[in-house]
Symmetry: D2
Subunit: 296 residues, 4 copies
């Protein structure tokens, strides 16, 4: 690849020549800079907007079945090396159009969104990342009282004119872990702590549809393999149950990622996955961490 | 108090009149705006710079006795209602002068700094906030192996030409807490977690001097009253000791702030204090919290 | 004040005597530790739960008029020095009860909430802090296209059996500031940046009611005195208007807090206020900052 | 791959059988759980410790030539599917050994560290991530006054017994960008803002050595292609120079990643790279973003 000299590169990108002062153009003849058509050295993989926060709708198999949450969007597209710039306002326009319709975050709507974005920008590839808390009711083990928990979800969807869609979903949720070593060596008790599990999952395209219960499946994989689940509301009998359950199910971070990995391995709609567990150790200032990555 | 109308206020603060376009002044006659002298409605309590990060020096009674750490500064001063603006670059100039001399964060140096700032800015009141991690070696209880811990410190010092100095120090440090209720009601074990203690302390001016062991005293107040200390390095016999110690010393957040409060109450150089404890509960997504405030 | 010795204090708070091992109680005779009644050294100012996240409802004079957002709660109460601990689960129970009814965040509901919490906990003082993004539509100045902006709100409400309610509201919102000095001294252009205004306002109790348009009034005080408003969506003609408007209305952080202060001063329902402005300077890594505090 | 049933998996990982209570082992016969040797379903890619903060030493071609900074470490290793757990305390022990010797963060030392970690853990692969601020003096363009800036650096180094070392370096630094479109369409001025450039670079193994000036080269690539550099200290004549320079060198995020990409492309020690630019737009609440990835 042959690049022009740095001074030429700066001129190509609109710098006033060194030592010169800026001479204003007549504003009546405003150039639409983004549409300039030359060779701008490199194609751009992703260009667009980050950290756009709006309310969105969710459907869930757990209560509340229909919910409004707040989502943080990144919207980007490819850009050919012939084009100087993208049209940032179009990203916001199309997002605003969907928002005014309630923006229900399901695959069919998100795919339509990316196709429409691709057409509006006249780019072959578009990308969407969106993060939001998902809320679900949790019933206490003994008192049966209800409270609200949440997990943090991130959707990472890409669209390419020729290669179609790629759908990746991530969930980060809190769990309790109780240290097997501390239990084994101590006369009584064991250190335990809040840990965070992150699962990052590529969905086989043939299984992607709005009825797939992926949120509930990922949450269950993380929680059912932990020393104990986290609970918003625990009365005394509940707290006894949870404390004892954790002691009966000690887990290292290594145990967590392997047991969760086994559950994800058995889900046929998952093509490949990464599982991480980070324990905010109650005996250290630092965290314990483990991760596995599996391609099926 | 009689305020001019909003449109006049905007003109006073330099807005071009509504509907008009900006007409450039000749740049040879640049006005020094910050030194304009009129009635600008309100005196300003604090104006200056925030989030300035530089390396600083610390002395400590615990090893390492002399250390370099990274500090985040806020430097501000009062501003009379006669003056339009402060001189922001002077804050950086004086900070840079101290930095080039190694900026040792002890009271005598910080007081000199604020006086000098006050003279340079010709303002009656100056303020300094600085936050940094303080590192100290911690020896494991059984193996006697050494590792490095840290606590986060914040100094909040104000100087007034007539009223002199006010010195407030804060420390936030991690500790282990084990739930007394969970211990009491469960057949075995108890939930425990990392908690964070924050102590905010006003020092009696007669006791302020560079030899005061306030860092070590605050750290000890927090740690010696916790279920257990946090440790960077624990071998198996250490982990056994720490696990059992926590079980033998269960603490609610309420217990923590009261016991630490009692220790601070007994320190004669402390005029008044606030103690907070926040437990990152291992059985919940939310935290437990308590605070007390005591004036002696 | 006479404190027992530290070793006695630890025993009072349930530590096993030094050198002894823990001897389990029979769990059938579980003591309700929180209800122990002795002299626990200090009354506690605030004890409760932190970082509880749930969806809530809001009403707004700007579109969308009725909205769901995500709120982060801190709920605390006083605790007499006779009582060892509060009943943490009751905080969650009452929050869950309100959540199931949609929890509309208006003063009348929040006041009822605090009174009910006070009765349930049998404590004389209860406190609520809640933070959430408030969304509002913003129309572009020239194209008239709509997009969604938000400001971050924090409500800080306290209830005392005898002294009643205290209502403090805070808003943090983004604005554009263009530097008057940079404009004055430069041949062309001026540095400008995103700034954040924080207003903290105590409402006169006689004016507190659900119809008070405080959100809209605070937002307008911040935005109408800035160099320019922030916009979610700007087409080319809008961007021209906003760029030129900012240049015609240059503002220091000092100007910002004074002009906003003047607006707040004129609002009769405001008893006292603090205004801060922090500019994320486009020419520095650090921020410029100013604050004023006014009691009327 | 054939997995045991979920109940068996839980037993394999130490859970008490459902419906049973925990029966304590005699502590004199403590099992070293981490060294259990069975088939634990999956090999683990990375296991270790996260968020370990310690002071470290740096060498720099810019002043200060030798500096102490605070680093945040993640240290991990592979783990065979035959082993239940790693030995977390060994990670801290070896880190502490290097800390006591001053831990100079240069390639030769970091490589030795990873080899030693690999031997101590008896694992074939070890990984190190370390993040820290790097400080450098910056001279104002007209007054020639000095102040201190910093960029955030992340080193990502892996070692494999058979495949050797892989060295990836990242830098995030702040810059000024001025919008070409806003300049083109407006009568005067243009919106500008603080932007952040992140460069992630894989170094060709033949070029890795302690004398390589990669920090200075990456910083220069980012800053020399921006509308203007950020400065800690600017007097009035400096501010004029910087304001005008930015106006004479307008840059989109697209321009930034392409121009920086061209500079990195010309550095022969770089094998492949990613460049991202995120502008904290002064006219929006959201950010503008672009990224390119190039393999040479």
């Amino acid at each position: 690849m042959n690049l022009p000299h740095k001074e030429e590169r700066h001129r190509l990108f609109g710098s006033v020549a060194p030592g010169m002062k800026y001479k204003p153009t007549r504003k009546e003849e405003m150039v639409d800079l983004q549409n300039l058509n030359r060779d701008f050295l490199f194609s751009i993989k992703k260009v667009g907007i980050n950290n756009v926060k709006i309310p969105v709708q969710l459907q869930s198999r757990l209560s509340p079945k229909h919910q409004t949450t707040i989502a943080n969007f990144s919207l980007t597209s490819s850009l050919s090396h012939k084009q100087k710039g993208t049209n940032m306002s179009r990203f916001v326009e199309i997002l605003e159009k969907y928002r005014q319709q309630g923006f229900l975050l399901k695959f069919s709507v998100l795919h339509r969104f990316l196709e429409e974005l691709s057409q509006k920008l006249e780019q072959e590839a578009t990308y969407l990342q969106v993060e939001f808390p998902w809320f679900y009711e949790r019933i206490a083990p003994s008192s049966n009282l209800t409270g609200l928990n949440h997990a943090n979800i991130k959707l990472d969807i890409s669209y390419h004119e020729k290669r179609g869609f790629k759908d990746t979903v991530s969930m980060t949720c809190g769990i309790t872990t109780l240290c097997p070593c501390s239990k084994e060596i101590s006369e009584y008790s064991a250190h335990n702590q809040r840990g965070y599990v992150r699962m990052n999952v590529n969905i086989s395209s043939s299984y992607v549809n709005d009825e797939l219960n992926w949120k509930e499946a990922l949450l269950d994989a993380a929680e059912s393999n932990a020393s104990a689940r986290l609970h918003p509301l625990l009365k005394r009998t509940d707290e006894k149950a949870v404390t004892e359950q954790a002691y009966e199910n000690p887990r290292f971070v290594e145990d967590m990622v392997r047991l969760i990995g086994a559950d994800l391995y058995e889900l046929n709609w998952i093509k490949s996955f990464t599982v991480e567990c980070r324990n905010e150790e109650s005996i250290h200032l630092h965290d314990a961490f483990a991760s596995i990555s599996v391609k099926k």
